[in-house]
C-alpha cells in the first residue's frame, strides 16, 4: 500500500507568467464597472420584473374594452354626425338658445370667431322681410 506521507508534497498547478501582476488591475476594473452599472441594472431588472407585466395587463384590458365598446371618443362621434342631422335634432329638441349657450364652454378664440361670423353676416331684403314676418314686425 502506498502511503501519502511517502509522496513529496508539491503544488503542481502554475499560473501564467505575470498573472498575479495583472489580476489586481482586472479585479479593480470589474469592481468599478459593476459599481457604476449596478443601479441602472437593478432598476431595469425591476422594470422587467414588475412594470412590464403590469403594463401588458393594462394594455390587454384597454384593448378588450376598446374592442367591446362600439363608440369612439365624444369628439369622434360628433364628427360623424352631419351638420343637417345636428341642426334637425336641435330644432326638434326642447333646448332653448339660452340653455345651449349656458352649456357651451366657449373660450376666447371661439367667441372671437363667432363675433366675426356675426359681424360678417349680410342679410338681403328677402331674408329681412321673412324675419320681420316671423316676428310680426313692420319694416
Amino acid at each position: 500500500m502506498k502511503r501519502l506521507e511517502d509522496i513529496p508534497k508539491k503544488n503542481i498547478f502554475d499560473a501564467p507568467e505575470g498573472y498575479f501582476d495583472k489580476l489586481p488591475g482586472i479585479i479593480q476594473a470589474r469592481v468599478t464597472a459593476e459599481s457604476t452599472s449596478t443601479a441602472p441594472l437593478i432598476s431595469f431588472g425591476l422594470v422587467l420584473r414588475y412594470a412590464l407585466p403590469v403594463l401588458a395587463i393594462g394594455l390587454a384590458i384597454f384593448m378588450i374594452f376598446r374592442e367591446n365598446d362600439p363608440s369612439g371618443s365624444p369628439e369622434e362621434l360628433l364628427a360623424s354626425v352631419s351638420t343637417e342631422q345636428l341642426s334637425g335634432y336641435l330644432l326638434e329638441s326642447d333646448f332653448s338658445t339660452e340653455e345651449l349657450l349656458d352649456n357651451l364652454d366657449l373660450n376666447e378664440v371661439d367667441v372671437n370667431a363667432l363675433n366675426e361670423e356675426i359681424i360678417d353676416l349680410e342679410f338681403d331684403s328677402d331674408v329681412l322681410e321673412e324675419f320681420a314676418e316671423e316676428l310680426q314686425l313692420e319694416l
Binding site: F13, P24, I26, I27
Partner: protein, 179 residues
C-alpha cells in the same frame, strides 16, 4: 500589512480602492491556489478567483471582525468553488464521474500544470473524492490549515473534519495502490 489596517483603509471612503487593491495583492495567490486545486483548469480558476474578490468587495462592509479576515475570504472562496462545480454538473447534465473524468484528463493535458507522475496520480486520486471532502483535504494537506481554522471556514465540527480527512487519506492511498 495587518488585516486590521487593510480593513481600516477599505472602510475609509478616501482610501477604499487603494485598500481593496492591497487586499487583492495580499490574498490573490492563496485564493487562486485553493480554487485551482479544486477546479484544475486555469481559465475556470481565473473566473472564480475574480468572482471571489468581487464578492469580497461587495460584502466587505458586512464583515464582522469577530472572525479573522482570511477565514471569511476562504469561506467565500470555498462556496464559490463548490457552487461552480455544482453548476458545471447541472449545466451539462453530466454524472459526477464524467465531470471528474474531464478534470482528470485536464491534469494530463491542460496548460500550467507541472509535477511528476506520482503528483499527477495523487491529483487524479483526489478527484475521486466528493467535492467537499476534497476541499477539506486540500485545506489540511496543502494549505496546512488547522482543523480549528477549517472548522471556522466550513462551519463543520472539528470531529467531523478529522473523520473526513482520515477517510479521504484512506481512499487516496487505496486508489494509489490500485493504480
Amino acid at each position: 500589512m495587518e488585516d486590521i489596517d487593510l480593513l481600516a483603509k477599505i472602510r475609509n471612503p478616501e482610501t477604499r480602492n487603494y485598500g481593496f487593491n492591497l487586499l487583492v495583492r495580499e490574498y490573490q495567490k492563496r485564493v487562486y491556489g485553493l480554487v485551482r486545486k479544486m477546479l484544475i483548469d486555469h481559465d475556470d480558476s481565473d473566473d472564480v478567483t475574480q468572482e471571489v474578490f468581487i464578492k469580497i468587495h461587495k460584502y466587505i462592509d458586512n464583515f464582522r471582525e469577530d472572525s479573522q479576515l482570511y477565514t471569511w475570504i476562504y469561506r467565500i472562496a470555498t462556496n464559490e468553488c463548490l457552487s461552480f462545480l455544482s453548476k458545471k454538473k447541472r449545466r451539462f447534465f453530466l454524472p459526477l464521474e464524467d465531470v471528474n473524468g474531464e478534470l482528470s484528463r485536464k491534469i494530463d493535458s491542460a496548460p500550467y500544470i507541472s509535477g511528476d507522475e506520482i503528483q499527477k496520480k495523487l491529483q487524479k486520486a483526489l478527484l475521486k473524492l466528493p467535492d467537499k471532502q476534497r476541499l477539506v483535504f486540500n485545506m489540511k494537506y496543502y494549505e496546512d490549515l488547522s482543523y480549528e481554522e477549517i472548522s471556522k471556514i466550513t462551519k463543520t465540527s472539528v470531529g467531523a473534519l478529522k473523520a473526513s480527512f482520515h477517510h479521504a487519506t484512506k481512499k487516496i492511498e487505496d486508489s494509489l495502490t490500485d493504480d
